[in-house]
Amino acid sequence: MAAARFKPGEKVRVRKAFPLGHVRTPYYIRGHTGEVERVCGAFANPEELAQMRDGLPPQPLYRVRFLQREVWPDYRGNPADVVEVEIFQHWLEPA
């Protein structure tokens, strides 16, 4: 299994890429910066599983917390509101 690069509390940025294929990193969160909330464990890569390959070695999966007011320019609500998204390690870089 690939080693976990990031720790809870660390700031990470989601890669701003738009490749074809089966992707589980939602469009709305690409390019945004958030904080690692936890490491969920390591799982087979869904991008590969979708193509009938085994997706191994398992990749670290993180829950990353983003401030809504930073994701949506017109966000109304508590400035502390967050959205938390599960993102695979290969979509993240240090911020």
């Binding site: 738009f18 089966h22 992707v23 599983l49 979708a50 009938m52």
Partner: protein
Amino acid sequence: MIERSHHDMGGLPAGKVERVEHDYADWERRVDAMVQVLRFGGKITVDELRKNIEALPPQAYDAMSYYEKWIASLTQTLLQRGMVTTDALARKMIEVEKRGGR
């Protein structure tokens, strides 16, 4: 121009959430059951199913009901894996329709 997949809709403008729930028809429950049994048996992955739903043309994605999408996707997945062939499916569909669908 950046391509955004039609299924990847988080954050897009949309209308009021309609609190509908329908009681699932038997055929829908069977689609659900087939998906679960095949997944649990390790014959297909949910990732392939999702990929095939995402590959539906946008109009079809919007117009088809949830289980219509799933049966179409399940069929594509099984075709891709060679567990059924297009020819066998065609013959079977003609046969089923001829005998009145039962």
